[in-house]
């Protein structure tokens, strides 16, 4: 057994242990801590699977952002009475058997892959040079399957609308109920002043490097969102009211620019979302830059939750 496979076995064992304890541990707070640890471990698994783009996304969203989201919910649900009704033993046994069956079925599928493994990698590499991009994943996201990416941005906006519309009527247009430090101590303020500049540089770097190497608008946008939330959580700045014009403009800038370039494709190239020859890379970089900002704001506001307080004038 090679050293690399020892690493893989140890990593898989650790992931499964942490994943199982995230489910089985008693308190919700501990479960969320486990889930964040699990997300960070999973990003290492993605590195081992040669999917660095996915590893970046998983570390950012699976590890940090989902953790913050769940944690906010835990903190707020402490005031609500959680009835500790536990499912009975027979039902748990039946559920366990069912789940083992599902897992076993998937495992069988893993052991018997289709004989010639289907792959689109040669096609991607063949058609990548005209776009001027060096990162095949960015090529798929912004050239070959650009419609998916555009619609995903729309999904983000729709989800945000959904979250906002769950606010009580009197709070519409108000500020989100993100939990913040009541009295931040100097160390926290130091961190909240130190980390964001570093994070912003890294987020821009992620977006910029995404055309050539692993990275891109998603990863960059998530870093920016996290830095913004850090500043808010530390109490250095207030969460913006959802009615703010600048907020809404930023939210739609990315998708609108993407859509505009896509529509222009009908005129200057042959099809919707086609890029005119020779201009593909600058256009994609422009779209990515705008999307990074929009994604950052959308993810940040999603994590901040629905508004709870009417805007004070």
């Amino acid at each position: 057994m090679s050293i690399a496979s020892v690493f893989d076995v140890a990593l898989v064992a650790l992931i499964l242990t942490i994943g199982a304890s995230a489910i089985l541990v008693r308190t919700a707070f501990a479960a969320v801590v486990m889930f964040v640890v699990y997300g960070l471990l999973l990003s290492m698994a993605w590195v081992r699977l040669h999917a660095v783009d996915v590893a970046l996304t998983e570390a950012a969203i699976g590890g940090g952002m989902t953790g913050l989201l769940l944690l906010g919910a835990v903190a707020r649900s402490r005031s609500v009475n959680v009835d500790s009704v536990r499912v009975g033993y027979p039902l748990r046994l039946a559920a366990g058997a069912l789940c083992a069956l599902v897992a076993a079925g998937l495992a069988v599928a893993i052991f018997y892959p289709p004989a010639p493994v289907p792959t689109l990698a040669p096609m991607v590499m063949e058609n990548l040079p005209p776009s001027g991009l060096g990162n095949p994943v960015a090529g798929v996201l912004f050239v070959f399957r650009a419609l998916d990416t555009l619609l995903e941005k729309v999904v983000l906006l729709l989800a945000l609308l959904g979250v906002w519309s769950l606010a009580p009527d009197h709070a519409w247009g108000g500020t989100p109920g993100l939990q913040v430090y009541a009295r931040p101590d100097p160390t926290l303020i130091f961190l909240a002043q130190l980390l964001p500049p570093v994070g912003i540089v890294f987020g821009i770097y992620m977006c910029w490097v995404g055309a050539k190497d692993p990275g891109g608008a998603f990863q960059g946008g998530t870093v920016l969102a996290a830095m913004w939330l850090l500043v808010i959580v530390a109490g250095l700045q207030k969460a913006p009211a959802i009615g703010r014009l600048w907020l809404r403009v930023l939210l739609v800038t990315g998708p609108v620019l993407f859509l505009a370039i896509g529509l222009a494709g009908w005129v200057f190239a042959d099809a919707f979302l086609a890029y005119p020859a020779g201009y593909a890379k600058p256009l994609i970089v422009a779209v990515e830059a705008a999307l990074t900002l929009s994604i950052a704001v959308a993810l940040g506001m999603l994590a901040a939750g629905p508004p709870v307080r009417a805007q004070q004038q």
Binding site: L69, L106, L302
Partner: protein, 110 residues
């Protein structure tokens, strides 16, 4: 057994674990967490498909990888939505568990 198969089995097991948590945990928050775990198991299975299809000098097929990136972001959006729903439910009813008939579930073990 190569690395792809090993991580594939890990993904399969995670789907099982997540499903178990989804069924047996009465707290909606924990259900959401379990669903995320289940989802990441499915993503890992996609990663295996990508890894096995390595060709043309790439470590994996970029198409499933791009799909997983999209999926992670959408899963986050769905989680945010689900949590907002649960919270509103809690605000309205003062209850933090999904049980249409609490007297019945209370009998099993309280």
């Amino acid at each position: 057994m190569n690395a792809a198969t090993l991580f594939g089995l890990c993904g399969a097991a995670l789907v099982g674990i997540g499903l178990y948590g989804l069924i047996t945990n009465p707290e909606p928050l924990r259900k959401i967490l379990a669903f995320n775990l289940l989802g990441s198991g499915v993503f890992l299975l996609f990663g295996i498909i990508a890894r096995r299809a390595a060709a043309a000098g790439l470590g994996g097929d970029p198409v499933p990888q791009a799909m997983v990136i999209t999926a992670i972001v959408v899963a986050f959006a769905a989680t945010a939505m689900a949590i907002a729903l649960v919270q509103r439910l809690g605000d309205e009813t003062g209850q933090a568990s999904i049980s249409s008939d609490s007297s019945e579930t209370g009998e099993e073990k309280s």
